[in-house]
């Protein structure tokens, strides 16, 4: 299952809920304000580092760049919409709104 998140983890519990339900190995796609989760040096960094051990984590690069996020957590794959589509080809989508 591919989990998609479009809200900042500083604003909503969507990422938290996603991590509770996601099975080890499930990919996570961060887009829109969801990409704030990849910012290094924040209070959710420990949770993200833990998540990165269990899940491939992707973030839409256009959203990351648009938000001035330059310090990206190590291990996050920055990707484009083609890559997003590629993940949807392989997985059922579970959106966390």
């Amino acid at each position: 299952m591919l989990h998609t998140i479009n809200k900042s983890p500083f604003f909503s519990n969507n990422l938290e809920s996603c991590l509770k339900f996601a099975k080890d190995g499930d990919p996570i796609m961060l887009y829109e304000d969801g990409v704030y989760a990849v910012l290094a040096g924040t209070k959710i960094e420990p949770a993200m580092k833990d998540a990165l051990k269990k899940h491939p984590v992707y973030a839409i690069e256009a959203d990351v760049k648009a938000r001035g996020i330059t310090k990206v957590l190590e291990g996050v794959y920055l990707c484009d919409y083609s890559c997003f589509v590629g993940l949807v080809e392989q997985h059922l989508v579970c959106p966390w709104f």
């Binding site: 299952m1 059922l92 579970c94 966390w96 709104f97």
Partner: protein, 123 residues
């Protein structure tokens, strides 16, 4: 997918009842889509569990008391209705506080049911 195989569609309800329209329009979607005899299921997670809270009195607010409409789901043979145990517990609720019977489950069990769906619809 084989022609006669029913499509598994799960509604994932994570938002409370009256602060936004998602829960209500989600319910409308469940009722219409439920009439086409596919395999519909509904899961209540996070604030979604508040949608089923008993004793809602919407008269003072002047909006429809649609929590009662969930009771009609069994007429549509929609009986696969789940709630996340932890979401209930964190909100001080138990299954007895809800207007319809639900299967209370752990997140891991719910995730397994999600995985076998054809479509997950968030409301």
């Amino acid at each position: 997918m084989a022609e006669k195989e029913k499509t598994k569609i799960m509604f994932v309800m994570r938002k409370a009842a009256h602060g936004s329209i998602y829960a209500y329009e989600g319910l409308e979607a469940i009722l219409i889509m439920g009439a086409f005899e596919q395999e519909i299921s509904v899961v209540f997670i996070d604030d979604g569990v508040f949608v089923l809270k008993k004793e809602q009195d919407t008269k003072p607010l002047g909006v429809k008391e649609f929590s009662k409409t969930f009771k009609t789901l069994e007429d549509y043979d929609i009986t696969n209705i789940y709630a996340d145990r932890e979401s209930l517990e964190q909100r001080g609720l138990t299954a007895d506080d809800l207007i319809i019977p639900v299967k209370v489950m752990e997140a891991g069990e719910i995730a397994k049911i999600m995985e076998v769906q054809h479509v997950l619809l968030p409301f």
